[in-house]
C-alpha cells in the first residue's frame, strides 16, 4: 500500500479534503475506490447546496454496491467535477487528482484540524486491511 498524499486530510469513512485558496477539494481515497471496485455513478449535491461535516454528502455506486459519502467539511458546494460524473472510471484511475468529486467553500476551515493526517489514515487503512481475512 503506497502512502496517501500528505497535502490533504482524511476521514475515517475514506473521504479526503484538500484546502486551497478559499475552497476545498473533496474526493474519496484510493483505498475506498479499491474496495468499491469499478465505480459507475455518483449522486452528489448541486452547486449551491450546503453540506455539514460528517453528514451524508451523497452516494457512490459500483456495479453491485451502493455506499454513502460523508462530507469531510461543512460549507457550500461550489462545483461538481463533471468529468468524473461523465466518466466515473476517472475516480478509479486517479482518486487524488483528476478524480476529485467536488469543491466546497468551507464554512470553517479549522474543521480540517479534526480530520486525520495522511499517516493516521494510512495506519487506519492498514488495520482495516489486516482485518479483512
Amino acid at each position: 500500500m503506497t502512502s496517501s498524499p500528505k497535502d490533504r486530510r482524511y476521514t475515517k469513512e475514506h473521504e479526503w479534503a484538500r484546502l486551497g485558496d478559499g475552497e476545498a477539494m473533496v474526493g474519496i481515497t484510493d483505498f475506498a475506490q479499491e474496495q468499491l471496485g469499478d465505480l459507475v455513478y455518483f449522486d452528489l449535491p448541486e452547486p449551491g447546496a450546503q453540506v455539514r461535516q460528517h453528514a451524508k454528502l451523497g452516494e457512490v455506486e459500483s456495479v453491485k454496491a451502493v455506499s454513502e459519502i460523508y462530507a469531510p467539511l461543512s460549507g457550500e458546494v461550489i462545483e461538481v467535477n463533471q468529468k468524473a460524473m461523465d466518466s466515473p472510471e476517472l475516480v478509479n484511475q486517479d482518486p487524488y487528482g483528476e478524480g476529485w468529486l467536488l469543491k466546497v467553500r468551507p464554512a470553517d476551515a479549522s474543521e480540517m484540524d479534526s480530520l486525520l493526517s495522511a499517516e493516521d489514515y494510512d495506519a487506519l487503512v492498514a488495520t482495516a486491511e489486516g482485518g479483512q481475512h
Binding site: V40, Y41, D43, E61, V63, K64, A65, V66
Partner: protein, 436 residues
C-alpha cells in the same frame, strides 16, 4: 415411489444416507420441533398423468371459453388474435425453464429478448427508456405513482376519474402504506395543486374515449406534477404515443400484445419513462455491452436501484416479474410488425364503430358519450345492463361490462378484430329483441 419427478431410487437413497452418515431421511429433519413433526396432509389422492389430464379438461369445460362464444368484454383485458409463432417461442424450454438471467454468459437468450422488449415498448410509447416489465398494468401504475412521489418529494396523488376503477383501487392499496392521499378528479373538476406528485390519465379512458391529453399535460406540468399516462397498447398502433404529448411516465397493460386472457393473468405491465428519471425507475433493466473478446452482449444493469442491492431503500421490492409474458409481447410485436399492428388497430377501430353505429340505431339504445373512441364505447341500455347481459347470455352471447354505477344504464362494450361482422349483427339483433 409415487413422484415421477424424483429420480432417486431406494438404492440411491441408501448410498447417499451412508455418505451423509445418518440412518434415515427422517433424521435430517431433527431440528423441527417434535410436537409439530409429520402433521399428515389431507389432500386428494395422487392422480396419474392420464387421470389428471381428464380431470382438468373437465374443470376447463365448466368454463365458457370465448373461443366458442361471441364476447364483447374489454375493460382492461382484450381478446386479440395471437399468431402461432408466439406460443411456439415461449414454450421452448430454454426460455420457459430458465431463471432470472443472473449469469449473462449463459443467459443471452433471455437478456437479448428483454432488450428487444424494452426497445419495442419505447417505440410503441414514444418514450426514452422502458424496463423489463411489471406484474400488470394496475400494479405498474401504483409503482409509477410511488416513483412520482420520490421524484417530486410531494405526497398527494391525483387520478382522473376516468381511470379504470380497478387500477384506482390498486393505487389506493399501495398508497396506503405511505399514507398518501389519493384525489380523484373530473376533467373539469378542482385544479391540481403544488401538493400533487402526479396526474394519472388513461388514454383511451376506461370508457373507451380519448381524453384531451394535451390540455391535461398542460395542467399537470403547470402544477409541477408528473404526467402519468396509461395507454391501451393496441390503440398505439394508430393513435399518437404518449411520448409525443409530454408524458413523464407511461404504464400499460401489455396483455393485448400476444398474451392469452387466462382469466386475468399472468399478464405483463409495461413501464416507460424519460431518460432523466432512469434511476428512480422500479424493475429490471437490461443494457448492451461487450464481452472480453469484444462481442456484443447484454447484462442486467443499473441494479443498484433494486432490492437485492439497495435493500430497504430500493425503488421497488419487485423481483420475479412476468418475463415470459414480456417475451410473448416481444414476439407478437415482431410478428405483427410495422404494418400488422396498425392493421389490427384499424380493424378494431372500424368494427367497434360499425357496432356502435348499429346499436345506436336500435330503438331504446343510445351512445351517452361523445368524442373519439377506439375499440370500446358505452351504450345506454333501455333496461338495467345486468338484465340485458343475462338475456344476451341466454342467446349465447357474452355482453359488455355493466358500468351503470358510473353511467346511467351504461354498458361498456368492446369490439376487436376477433369479432366478425356476423357476431356483431347477432349482438345487434339480440339487443333489439331484449330492448323491445
Amino acid at each position: 415411489m409415487s413422484n415421477p419427478y424424483v429420480p432417486n431410487t431406494d438404492g440411491d437413497r441408501r448410498a447417499m444416507l451412508e455418505r451423509i452418515g445418518v440412518a434415515s431421511v427422517d433424521a435430517l429433519f431433527d431440528d423441527i420441533p417434535a410436537h409439530c413433526r409429520n402433521p399428515g396432509l389431507t389432500l386428494p389422492p395422487a392422480l396419474s398423468e392420464m387421470e389428471l389430464a381428464r380431470e382438468l379438461a373437465q374443470m376447463a369445460a365448466r368454463n365458457r371459453s370465448i373461443a366458442e362464444t361471441p364476447c364483447f368484454l374489454g375493460a382492461g383485458a382484450y381478446r386479440h388474435f395471437i399468431p402461432s409463432v408466439v406460443d411456439y417461442v415461449i414454450r421452448q424450454g430454454a426460455f420457459a425453464t430458465a431463471y432470472t438471467p443472473y449469469q449473462p454468459e449463459i443467459s443471452q437468450g433471455t437478456l437479448q429478448s428483454i432488450f428487444e422488449f424494452q426497445s419495442l415498448v419505447c417505440e410503441l410509447t414514444g418514450m426514452d427508456v422502458a424496463n423489463a416489465g411489471m406484474y400488470d398494468g394496475a400494479s405498474a401504475l401504483a409503482e409509477a405513482c410511488l416513483m412520482a412521489v420520490r421524484i417530486t418529494g410531494r405526497e398527494r396523488l391525483a387520478l382522473l376519474s376516468t381511470v379504470n376503477p380497478s387500477y384506482q383501487r390498486v393505487v389506493r392499496t399501495y398508497a396506503e402504506g405511505h399514507a398518501l392521499p389519493v384525489d380523484v378528479m373530473t376533467p373539469d373538476g378542482p385544479a391540481l395543486s403544488e401538493k400533487h406528485a402526479c396526474l394519472v390519465v388513461q388514454q383511451p379512458n376506461f370508457f373507451g374515449y380519448l381524453e384531451d391529453v394535451e390540455e391535461l399535460e398542460r395542467r399537470a406540468h403547470a402544477a409541477g406534477a408528473l404526467y402519468i399516462v396509461v395507454p391501451e397498447p393496441m390503440s398505439l398502433g394508430m393513435f399518437r404515443p404518449p411520448g409525443e404529448y409530454g408524458a413523464d411516465i407511461v404504464v400499460a397493460e401489455g396483455q393485448a400484445l400476444g398474451v392469452p386472457l387466462s382469466f386475468g393473468g399472468p399478464y405483463v405491465g409495461l413501464f416507460a419513462t424519460r431518460r432523466e428519471h432512469i434511476r428512480q425507475m422500479p424493475g429490471r433493466l437490461v443494457g448492451q455491452t461487450k464481452d472480453v473478446d469484444g462481442r456484443t452482449g447484454y447484462v442486467l444493469t443499473l441494479q443498484t436501484r433494486e432490492q437485492h442491492i439497495r435493500r430497504e431503500r430500493a425503488t421497488s421490492n419487485i423481483c420475479t416479474n412476468e418475463q415470459l409474458c414480456a417475451l410473448a409481447a416481444t414476439v407478437y410485436l415482431c410478428a405483427l410488425g410495422k404494418q400488422g399492428l396498425r392493421r389490427v388497430a384499424e380493424l378494431c377501430y372500424h368494427k367497434a364503430h360499425y357496432a356502435a353505429e348499429r346499436i345506436a340505431a336500435v330503438p331504446g339504445y343510445s351512445l351517452p358519450l361523445t368524442g373519439t373512441f377506439f375499440q370500446e364505447f358505452v351504450v345506454r341500455c333501455p333496461r338495467p345492463p345486468r338484465e340485458v347481459n343475462a338475456a344476451l347470455l341466454e342467446r349465447g352471447i357474452i355482453g359488455g361490462l355493466d358500468v351503470s354505477e358510473q353511467i346511467d344504464g351504461g354498458m361498456l362494450l368492446c369490439v376487436t378484430e376477433m369479432n366478425g361482422r356476423e357476431e356483431v349483427d347477432h349482438l345487434v339483433d339480440a339487443l333489439r329483441e331484449i330492448g323491445a
